[in-house]
Symmetry: C2
Subunit: 119 residues, 2 copies
DNA sequence: ATTAGTAATAAACAAAAGGTTAGTAGTTAT
DNA sequence: ATAACTACTAACCTTTTGTTTATTACTAAT
């Protein structure tokens, strides 16, 4: 028996694909956190590492590379300064992720209220 | 030298904490996909496994348990049916995740358009 | 009689993600 | 002189996540 493929299925598949595309770029433990910290004005490597508690230099470094590859951030090295200072700047494109972060943060806040009130 | 803790930092920390709370419950490769599939009407174990391509029974099983523990889904066993049928139902609370999924899926769609157009 | 579908779970293993420690090389503050 | 800061990176190890295969026990269709 073959199931008919109705509108709901098609919509569901498209939806799942879009979700997967997003998670491919934004998923993982750290990427959204890094972007959130950057949106709050943190730009430098050690600054980011201090702000995002728990992240190691190794992971921060490799995640920043991925974000750069995906066009979400830009790396700016200031050779003139001493010591040489590197800044990571969110691109204009990355601003489209603001919504994602806000919706998630709102949910997280609601969820914390829920679990702290019920126990 | 101690940095002063200004409003931006406080806001950033609160934001990051909320984001972390959300990711604790919704993060990982599969949870949002499972919820998205359930919101599209898929309820049964094998149905979910077929819909969410790539997930193994073991992982689906353990993720469903976590979602249940977090109050996002409910497990309903219909002993009367034969063979016994189990349904996983999104709770009312889980509906609050609709927003998250939509925003992410929208972003994923935009992103796909962007990368398929530029190459 | 065999195959397939119902919903899982266990064991054994592989792969991916992440953490820890130590180190680079130059500068500046104590 | 020593410590700390700049921005990383390599090597190694642990943890998490996921895969594959087999198994449960019953039913229904071929």
């Amino acid at each position: 028996m073959r199931k008919r493929m109705d509108y709901a299925d098609t919509k569901c598949e498209a939806n799942l694909r879009a979700l997967e595309d997003a998670l491919y770029v934004l998923g993982g433990k750290w990427r959204l956190r890094i972007l959130a910290a950057m949106f709050s004005g943190h730009k430098r490597f050690n600054d980011l590492q201090r702000t995002i508690r728990g992240i190691s230099a190794r992971v921060l470094s490799s995640e920043l590379k991925q974000l750069e590859l995906n066009g979400l951030i830009r790396r700016e090295v200031h050779v003139d300064k001493t010591p040489v200072v590197t800044e990571y700047i969110a691109t204009g494109y990355a601003r489209s992720i603001d919504d994602v972060i806000h919706v998630l943060a709102d949910w997280g806040q609601k969820h914390r209220k829920k679990i702290t009130s019920t126990r």
